[in-house]
Amino acid sequence: MPYIPHDPEETAAMLAAIGVESIDDLFDEIPSRLQAQDLDLPEGLSEMALRRELEDRAMANSSLRCFAGGGAYAHHIPALVWDIAARGEFYSAYTPYQPEASQGTLQVLYEYQSFITRLTALEISNASLYDGASGLAEACLMALRIRGSDQSILVPENLLPSWRRVLDSVLGLQNIRLISVPYDTTTGLLQLPEDANAAALIVPQINAFGLLEPVDALTDWAHARGLLSIAVVNPLSLAILKAPGDWGQQGADIAVGEGQPLGIPLTGGGPYFGFLACRKAHARQLPGRLVAKTVDGQGREGYCLTLQAREQHIRRGKATSNICTNQGLMVTAATIHMATLGSQGLQEAAMTCHARASRLRALLEALPGITFPYAGAFFHEWVVRLPKDAVFVRDTLLKQGLLAGIPLSEWGEGASGDLLVCTTELLEESDLLTYREAMRSMLEAQ
């Protein structure tokens, strides 16, 4: 019996100890009409047959050279990261409710929090949220709690559309008003209104077109009008881009983002993790778990969960969030990833991503008929405008083993030829040339 250790003698002895005849008797409090017999499920497989079936399935997904980003990025993950994160002691433990028996997980989380605060230049980081988009929803709710009165948020239209949808779904439930802030269609950058009544302004750095926003000005604009500034950032980019805590005069109030670029495999969209950092003054409004360093009775240093009164298991309906199980193992991997790369490795990866993006753009610029709708600075992603339908181009390049990017038309944005292209350190010069050639023949074809 897969994963069940009992042999018939043991089962019999246990039933006897309980004083029943059969296992079915253990369910005698359940009305028998509720007890279904055979479920419509397939037969079980041996581990061997299972492996074969799933290896076939995995092979049925194309293996593509990745030029797509849009919130999920193909990066190199050092081999040690998942070798360690997948050790049973991390993999099969749970929330550190018993800190004495969970110092491993707790210290990892403390180090994670330390790394995130350093990346963001803010004082406090929680121990993870589900993903970047749901993390942004939590950040908005947090801002609303801090601000108290205002029940609206300014949401840029050049925020990733999937993130906007999550805000709509989650914040809509509490009748929170999401006020759209348009972008300038010639620059792709945010266009702020003169004034606004809202709890916070979301500032996406990098925006959905891969462009860098003038974050100092945006943050100052928000603060000048009494709004909080919520920074949405790519954590890897922070190795070279300005940290949210340093934006404008006072810095952003909350920084949130998708942690996937920090050692998390793409896996078709998840599990990833959301990170959220803020100022110490707002600690009590923070959603999610938080780990602190303390001492035991003998003065030995140790770690434990703290400010648990914010959380659902204590505060129930009044908690700062309903989150309970979060993304612990992802954060464990991210911590090991950051420690393995160090500032230096992260900076190198970020610099390489950027260099590749500049290089590929230069290569494509030479192709006839291709333009770039937005001229602004970028990190590792930009929009190219093709003289053909971008969906068609993307689908054609698939056959050459290239995932060429994300057609903006799939988001209902831009021109039909607009393709959002991303490069990371995984791409070598030869890949860029392959891409250019594939694009060239594609465009030359009738």
Binding site: L50, E100, S169, G270, H354
Partner: protein, 476 residues
């Protein structure tokens, strides 16, 4: 204590930043993460891992959490490059292998729950709850029934239930339980009315017993126009045997990281798939997987499902977790799935009986255990001052993870014990022996418990100091 990772830092000179990015966008102070040698990193985290208790190393009877064996094959399968390297924006024709897996999982979970349709997107139980109650809300509103702003929830419910209801804009009304563990029907009836959107129940409940009058409850709630939400955290108790759909529930979530053996990972990631009866299907969160024919599967979007409550995360949910749950279900198959609840119940009832035999008091002595059960050490507390916390800490000294304590809050000095079906009789017998010894120690040397744990890297930690100092990040 382990050294901090920061002691392994070797200072480096930060590189020159790109010149084609405006200076105002560039990092100011150099990033100050440790630059440690690979061996030092590996050693640091390997040694940290050894300080954890985990299923792979200890018996971990943490009630309500279903700490069963997490098969290593599931991890291997989810890590196959064909899955792990797949970008979420890969067009559907290039990810048919993954879509087939997800589609099957949707079907199988529907079959296991007796529901019409499933969305896999919620990232954990709590997000599933949020999706579920949001669907209840959307359902009433779609019928023009706008006055239903109350959600009924048993006092003993898990904290996420009221938190999720609140987050979905509901007012929470608590319904008490009776002394036998069942819901107080009178209190329920008293609250039912045109302002009630529905009720959130766990069954078996968080008290470790099956809610016997569930059919009656369903009838009353439905009669009053409300819907029933099933918190699937305890599905392990009845898997393959009782379908929530048959009990009268309209919508539910499953904790795949409990019932379907995906790892808890030190606190996630989980997966909180939601399942619904047909009338709620139009509201399922997106994306879901639709099969048009063999080899032509695709994601459904807002265009296909305009009434959907929307999206809960940027992509399709915790897919790597879903892959593991799929592998587990496929390995078990029909018969194996049914065995889960059988042996979970066997282990729980055996353990309850044995612990009673050595002197412990059941919270509901007249009831069968479900897949878990509650002891109360109030008797010990009265006799010796020893608390459930002390028993829990002392267990750690024997290399056994503590059960859940002080939940549900309404049973004083309680331990919620869930052995799961993957533990052997030998492991349970050892647990009983240790518990018997601890009971004796409590009576004879209570300080041994009060000062426990003695054999772990740290003793009891000063949590008040932790909150006061709030040292939550190493200063740079």
């Amino acid at each position: 204590m382990n050294d901090s990772i920061f002691v392994h830092d070797h200072p480096t000179t930060p590189p020159a930043l790109p010149t084609d990015i405006p200076a105002e966008c560039l990092r100011q102070a150099p990033l100050n993460l440790p630059n440690a040698a690979e061996l030092d990193v590996l050693r640091h985290y390997t040694r940290l891992s050894q300080k954890n208790f985990a299923i792979d190393t200890q018996f971990y009877p943490l009630g309500s959490c279903t700490m069963k064996y997490n098969p290593r094959i599931a991890h291997a399968m989810a890590s196959l490059p064909g899955f792990a390297r797949l970008h979420p924006d890969t067009p559907a024709p290039a990810m048919q292998g993954l879509l087939q897996v997800l589609w099957e999982l949707q079907e199988w979970l529907a079959a296991a729950t007796g529901m019409a349709a499933v969305s896999l997107t919620p990232a954990a139980g709590a997000q599933g709850e949020l999706a579920g109650v949001a669907m209840i809300r959307a359902y009433h509103q779609s019928r023009g029934d706008h006055g239903r702003n109350k959600m009924l929830i048993p006092t003993a419910a898990h904290g996420t239930n009221p938190a999720s209801a609140q987050m979905a804009g509901f007012e929470v009304i608590e319904i008490p339980n009776l002394a036998d563990g069942d819901l107080d029907m009178a209190a329920l009836d008293a609250h039912l009315g045109p302002d009630v959107a529905g009720i959130m129940l766990t069954n078996p409940s968080t008290l470790g017993v099956f809610e016997r009058r569930i059919a009656e409850i369903a009838q009353h709630v439905h009669a009053a126009g409300g819907l029933l939400y099933y918190d699937g955290a305890n599905l392990n108790a009845i898997l393959g045997r009782v379908q929530p759909g048959q009990m009268g529930f309209d919508v539910m979530h499953l904790n795949l990281h409990k019932t379907f053996a995906t790892p808890h990972g030190g606190g996630g990631p989980g997966a909180g798939a939601v399942a619904v009866q047909a009338r709620l299907q139009p509201f399922l969160p997106l994306p879901t997987v639709h099969k048009e024919g063999p080899g032509t599967l695709r994601w459904l979007s807002e265009l296909d499902v305009p009434q959907s409550i929307g999206r809960l995360s940027a992509h399709g949910g915790n897919i790597g977790v879903l892959l593991r749950a799929h592998a587990y279900m496929r390995r078990l198959g029909r018969a194996g799935v049914r065995r889960v609840s059988a042996y979970a119940a066997l282990n729980a009832n055996y353990l309850l009986k044995e612990l009673q035999r050595v002197g412990y008091q059941a919270a509901f002595p007249q009831r069968r255990a479900s897949h878990e059960f509650i002891l109360s050490v109030s008797d010990l507390h009265k006799a010796t001052g020893i608390r459930a916390l002390d028993v829990a800490k002392r267990l750690l000294d024997f290399g056994i993870h503590a059960p859940t304590i002080y939940f549900p809050q309404l049973v004083p000095e309680c331990l919620l014990i869930e052995p799961t079906e993957t533990e052997s009789k030998a492991t349970l017998d050892r647990f009983v022996a240790v518990m018997a010894q601890i009971r004796q120690e409590a009576l004879e040397q209570p300080e041994l418990l009060r000062e426990a744990p003695h054999h772990l890297p740290v003793g009891r930690l000063d949590e008040a100091l932790a909150a006061r100092r709030l040292d939550v990040a190493a200063l740079s």
